[in-house]
């Protein structure tokens, strides 16, 4: 049994406000996003029968089902693993529920409101006394530790990180909704920005927003009946090499973003490609979760989209990374760094826009569109979307 082509994303919504400035609470943000995604799909909110999410949050499936007045709740699941690592896995869980007939119309969502949950970038509560006495208190620190070794030991050049950031800013100049719109960034501006946690400059770090994102997953059959452009799920994978990122910095391979093959010979990335029957070189456009630029580069390496070590420089040029002409266009809305950040789920919406042909930085012909979820978390995930032609 394979997931390939059995389900599709038919409706999306991406609502964001400056951090701490949402006019309503997180629950209302999530409900707004679900209603908007339903309208986008052309379905009634009453048709929803399942909910998936990740990274915690108080707005559970049963709560939202009651608010929406759904007829019956058939699926409700939260992805374990912390942070944005489970973002694509939430879509995968929705697809798995629909593909196996356990639910018919599942919404994958994430909402954030800093008035309720504080700043994710200073999420100190996540770290225990193996970390805090050493001043390692934020996601930036643990990602910086791995990134510094990727740069200094593995030999991945700084330019790989910098060009990922510059490409995001270049894309943001065409996206009026992006935080970086009208604020172009060049190499000198990047280099001059202060270090936050070295090796991360300010511009290597993601933004934070209030907002909510929702994506509606239905069967491929129903997607065709709705008669709108759908993004078919070609593959979805979650996991990590055993013990990755969960042993107080004692795991191998240390500079992987978590998608690499384990000792069993498979990993999140290789399982994704096998399931989708797509090779890395065949991917048309990539949205890669950049909590920080370095882990995003590691994610591209793990997925076979970029070679490891010094050779990364050849692929990670600004030209290659920029739509529409680049060979590896990434983060075409501006991504978490230059567009907005609702725990990374906005990237999934952009991956759908590319399949629909509605991105502000549309690639010429996007038949395969990859969304890579949060890297360097104890559980990571990615999902590959395809057009009708790929089925």
């Amino acid at each position: 049994m394979s997931l390939r082509g059995t389900t599709a994303i038919v409706g999306v919504a991406d609502i964001h406000h400056p951090r701490g400035k949402a006019p309503v609470g997180e629950r209302e943000l999530v409900l707004q996003a679900i209603l908007e995604a339903c309208a986008d799909a052309g379905i009634s909110p009453r048709d929803i029968d399942g909910f998936t999410s990740y990274a915690g949050g108080d707005n559970s499936g049963p709560v939202l089902a009651a608010d929406l007045g759904v007829r019956e709740l058939r699926w409700s699941s939260m992805v374990w693993g912390g942070g944005g690592g489970g973002a694509a896995a939430a879509i995968g869980a929705a697809a798995a529920a629909v593909a196996t007939g356990q639910a018919e119309c599942v919404v994958a969502f994430r909402g954030m409101s800093q008035r309720e949950t504080g700043r994710l970038g200073y999420a100190k509560y996540y770290f225990d006394n193996n970390y805090l006495p050493h001043g390692v208190a934020t996601p930036a620190h643990v990602c910086a530790l791995r990134t510094q070794r990727m740069l200094e030991h593995d030999g991945v050049p700084r330019s790989a990180m910098r060009n990922l950031v510059l490409a995001a800013y270049q894309h943001a100049q065409n996206n009026p909704g992006a935080a970086g719109y009208g604020k172009p960034l060049d190499e000198a501006g990047y280099d001059a920005s202060p270090f936050i946690v070295e090796p991360f400059h300010l511009f290597d770090c993601s933004r934070e927003n209030d907002g909510a994102v929702a994506l509606i997953v239905v069967s491929a059959e129903r997607a065709r009946a709705l008669g709108r452009p759908a993004a078919y799920v070609l593959g979805a994978a979650q996991g990590a090499p055993g013990g990755y990122s969960a042993q107080n910095e004692n795991d191998e391979p240390y500079t992987s973003a978590g998608f690499a093959d384990s000792s069993s010979g498979t990993g999140v990335a290789s399982r994704l490609w096998a399931q989708a029957r797509v090779k890395p070189a065949e991917v048309d456009v990539v949205q890669v979760y950049e909590n920080f630029s370095g882990p995003a580069v590691a994610s591209l390496i793990d997925h076979g989209l970029c070679p490891p070590g010094p050779a990364a420089a050849e692929v990670m040029t600004l030209e290659n990374l920029t739509a529409p002409g680049g060979s590896l266009p990434v983060n075409t809305s501006g991504g978490n760094i230059a567009d907005s950040f609702v725990n990374g789920m906005g990237l999934a919406v952009e991956a759908v826009r590319q399949i629909r042909g509605t991105s502000t930085n549309q690639v010429d012909r996007a038949d395969t569109s990859l969304f890579i979820g949060g890297p360097m978390a104890p559980l990571v995930s990615s999902v590959l979307l395809g057009s009708e032609q790929t089925l």
Partner: protein, 145 residues
């Protein structure tokens, strides 16, 4: 180095007390790390059982606090107001010489500039605003200050 804060620096055993011997070792100026009581396999702090043979028996034995820098970061901001070191500060992840275990710690010294592979020696310090001592590092060959 003086504490710039009266806030308490988080230190000490985990809520389940599973790593209490490590912290009590620091109070006796020793680095004690866990080892499987059945098969002898070393493991990182924070794991409830031996991942090699699934025994829950744990022994704690002394390890020489010396090793090489596996990676490092320099924090340019005061992410923790309770931290008793000035900003910027450097945190190193140290690959121990004697056992296949890595440990974090702040690298002491005046604006230290580490490189991966540098040799470092552990220093057990008692911050004035912490309940328990902490393990920190200095470049090998640099004297106690």
């Amino acid at each position: 180095m003086t504490a710039a804060t009266t806030e308490i620096l988080p230190t000490g055993p985990a809520p389940d007390d599973g790593d209490r011997p490590f912290w009590e070792g620091l109070r006796e100026d020793r680095l004690l790390l866990p080892q499987c009581g059945a098969c002898g396999q070393r493991r990182a702090l924070g794991r409830a059982m031996c991942p090699g043979c699934w025994s829950f028996r744990t022994e704690w034995s002394p390890v020489t606090p010396a090793g090489t820098v596996h990676t490092w970061v320099r924090s340019a901001r005061a992410f923790m107001s309770e931290l008793d070191v000035p900003v910027p500060y450097v945190t190193v992840l140290v690959q121990l010489d004697d056992v296949p275990v890595r440990l974090l710690g702040i690298l002491l010294g005046e604006d230290p500039r580490p490189a991966i592979g540098d040799r470092v020696t552990g220093v057990i310090q008692q911050p004035v605003n912490a309940e328990w001592p902490v393990l920190r590092w200095r470049f090998a060959g640099e004297g106690e200050r």
